[in-house]
């Protein structure tokens, strides 16, 4: 009697139509039929995208830093006073200033150090 009651209680839970087992075959693909809603960071694709994004960002920063490093010697090699002057003078004016200082250095009255005075005749007499 009790068994009959059980059968009756189970019956309404059975689906009206049975699934097409041949078409489904989900177990062969090692997949679950139950789809669990995943979090943003639990999706592999999303994580890969984020990693790729950071790598690109890093590359961009490195390229920019290399560029700025290569420019720095140009700034360093300019004498300090010309950097300040460049802010005030036009390029042509600064060229003229530079020419004036070059002319001062090229003054023929300024003599270069001649050959060191050494004894050319080192004899034993």
């Amino acid at each position: 009697m009790k068994n009959n009651d059980d059968i009756q209680t189970i019956k309404p839970h059975l689906p009206d139509e049975l699934p097409d087992w041949e078409a489904e075959r989900w177990w062969e693909k090692s997949k679950s039929r139950i789809k669990i809603p995943q979090g943003f960071f639990k999706n592999k694709k999303n994580i890969l995208l984020i990693v790729a994004f950071f790598i690109l960002l890093l590359l961009l920063l490195i390229s920019l830093s290399i560029n700025s490093q290569q420019r720095s010697p140009d700034i360093l090699e300019q004498p300090e006073h010309t950097v300040i002057q460049d802010q005030e003078l036009t390029p042509l004016q600064s060229q003229i200033k530079e020419l004036r200082s070059q002319l001062k250095k090229a003054d023929p009255a300024i003599k270069e150090s001649p050959i060191p005075a050494v004894e050319m005749n080192l004899r034993i007499d």
Partner: protein, 287 residues
């Protein structure tokens, strides 16, 4: 729906830096290339200047050492002349060799400094530059060969023999060093002139673009005419002084006298260039 939005957002975030990277990279590379070319020249010159400064410091040290060795040589020679002992002969031979070696080192460093100055200085005519570099190289090789002769000489007679051989080499080095100094002096002024010509071209082109009042423009034209007159006076003067530098290499000691008189020869060129720069300063309002 929400998932779609996040993935599009992510793709956008992913592609924006990628796009920026792709767009900026070639331009960055091109800019770096042109910058590196001009900065390479400047850096090369800067490196040469530093090298010259280092060598000048080295030369001072070497010269001090030479003075010490020369003093020792003189003392040993005096002792040998007065004592005439075997030990005094031994002493004078070793001290002479030492003095000869340090003299060689001093001269080689000095020639190397001249070589670097030739490479560093703009404006030296190529014919003179090549010729001077060739001479320097030849002298440095001769000094290297002389170093071997010093090592091989073991007695007084051999040392006296190589000492006589050095006299002509020393004379040549001395004379040619004045030739190098002369062309360096001329080259420096030539470089100022070359740059002045470029500046003058820039000023002239600026004048044609300027939208100024007629009176100011005519004043400016007159000033530029004066500048041009001055500029045309200089090339023949340079030509004369360059050819004199070439001719001065005839008999020995000629270069030295040419160098000593160079201040007088280059004086008018320097004063004209100074006037030219003053005109430029006036035209462009440089104080």
């Amino acid at each position: 729906m929400q998932k779609k939005t996040t993935s599009t957002l992510l793709l956008a975030v992913f592609f924006i830096p990628l796009f920026l990277l792709v767009v900026s990279f070639p331009s960055l590379l091109l800019a770096q290339e042109s910058e590196s070319q001009s900065s390479q020249v400047i850096l090369q010159r800067q490196r040469l200047t530093e090298e010259i400064q280092d060598l000048e410091k080295q030369l001072l040290g070497q010269l001090n050492q030479y003075r010490q060795h020369e003093r020792e040589y003189r003392i040993a020679r005096d002792q040998y002349q007065s004592l005439q002992t075997l030990s005094s002969i031994e002493e004078v031979v070793s001290s002479t060799k030492k003095a000869m070696r340090s003299r060689n080192l001093v001269l080689d460093t000095y020639l190397n400094i001249l070589r670097l100055k030739l490479l560093e200085t703009e404006g030296v005519e190529l014919v003179h530059q090549e010729r001077a570099l060739e001479i320097i190289e030849k002298h440095r090789q001769a000094l290297g060969a002389y170093e071997q002769l010093i090592d091989q000489s073991q007695d007084r007679e051999a040392i006296n023999l190589i000492a006589d051989e050095f006299l002509s080499l020393g004379e040549e080095i001395n004379n040619n060093s004045f030739y190098v100094l002369s062309i360096l002096s001329i080259g420096r002024l030539q470089s100022v002139y070359d740059k002045a010509v470029i500046i003058n071209q820039k000023i002239s082109s600026e004048e044609s673009e300027a939208e100024e009042a007629v009176l100011e423009q005519s004043q400016r034209n007159r000033a530029i005419n004066e500048v041009n007159k001055l500029i045309t006076q200089l090339p023949p003067m340079f030509e004369t002084v360059w050819s004199n530098a070439y001719i001065s290499n005839r008999p020995s000691r000629q270069h030295e006298s040419f160098y000593r008189n160079l201040t007088r020869e280059l004086g008018p060129i320097h004063s004209r260039l100074s006037l030219l720069v003053s005109y430029f300063e006036e035209l462009e309002g440089v104080k």
